[in-house]
Symmetry: C2
Subunit: 210 residues, 2 copies
DNA sequence: GTCTATACTTCGATAGAC
DNA sequence: GTCTATCGAAGTATAGAC
């Protein structure tokens, strides 16, 4: 294996992820990305042709990977309530390996998808679609109430993204005594509990009470 | 009233809100803000001294206003479950008058609060604090289960912010047939329903069943 | 308070040698 | 595939007259 670490394109993508997450598309500097990736700017443009091309390549790959994880869960044999818990866990786990994901997702939503082309939009759409498939199995099994799949998606994903992405702000607020602390484990537990209750089909009324 | 419309500082704030929401802090252009506000750049700097100063002034005011709305709800005499519904409605209504709010909030979270000074952080912290007060009244009344107030805050606010801010992306996805439509009314109804179930204290087991 | 004109800086992108 | 050097555009901010 003569290749020392990672090849240039991968190193560039990793550096771009950190930079875009921390500063946003407009705030990101191509020079900084190149420096972090230990390549020069010309190399970066050689592989990705523009700042925009680099951004889209990064997001397309990330969206598809994330959607793949959710699709795997939806197709698993577990009972639906367990799939929901697993989805929450899986999203948090995904973020462990892709620390830049929440920030970039939040930013792109806020930006209205301005920087995305058709191909990247397709990849983005795969994420809620995979989650909807998961919810559908619960509805078909009669254990979830009839929530709109997209409403369920936002109710599940948005708190996770915002909680994780807000870690630095929450740390600042906590250290200044402006906000109580909340550990990831406690948050995940609370959220899983909330979602189970939120989506559960109402217990059927007993046939003859009393 | 000789003054034609709004005074310069207010027009500048309004223009800044639109620009920062659409493009983010780094993407926002002082020239564009000045042009939209129908003042020149020098005027803008005269009133707000810097791009950063303008941004902070805008956010501080918005955070305090939003926190004020929630604090008013928490202090109302309504039953807690009704306060929760009202909080969801109030957040959506707030956004109607402050269309820029969701994008800016999402962006600032993603950015880690980098652009905020102590004073603006104080204003930001007032928002979850007001919501926690609302949740506390429900817990004290015994009708909410013991969720962490901050977890409840994220579970409530994040879906609303993301749903609203994602309107442009969702429109693009819907029009390309990549995603089902979801009206604001349907979303709000689903979310209110979900949150009522999610936070409700479990019904006490009947003393002597059968 | 309001304007025009401009100084100074930084950024995305490329040319061209190796 | 990799580098150095650099160009032109665009950005924040200010000077100075009114």
């Amino acid at each position: 294996m003569p290749r020392p670490l990672k090849a240039s394109p991968e190193r560039i993508l990793a550096a771009a992820a950190a930079e875009f997450a921390a500063r946003g598309y407009a705030g990101a500097r191509v020079d900084r990305i190149a420096r972090r990736a230990r390549v020069n700017k010309a190399m970066l443009y050689y592989h990705f042709s523009s700042k925009q091309g680099l951004y889209r390549a990064l997001l397309r790959g990330t969206f598809l990977e994330f959607a793949g994880v959710l699709a795997g869960l939806a197709a698993s044999g577990e009972p639906p309530a367990g799939k929901l818990d697993a989805a929450v866990r899986a999203m948090v786990a995904f973020v462990d390996g892709h620390a830049y994901f929440p920030s970039i997702m939040l930013r792109e939503v806020a930006e209205g998808g301005t920087h995305l082309d058709a191909e990247t939009l397709d990849a983005l759409a795969a994420v809620p679609r995979a989650f909807a498939a998961l919810v559908a199995t619960g509805r078909e099994a009669g254990v979830f109430r009839p929530v709109h799949p997209l409403a369920a998606y936002f109710t599940t994903v948005a708190p996770i993204l915002m909680y994780i992405a807000s870690t630095p702000v929450r740390a600042r607020l906590s250290s200044r005594g402006l906000q109580p602390a909340l550990s990831t484990e406690a948050f995940i537990g609370d959220l899983q509990h909330s979602l189970r209750l939120a989506f559960a089909a109402p217990a059927p009324a007993p046939r003859s009470p009393r």
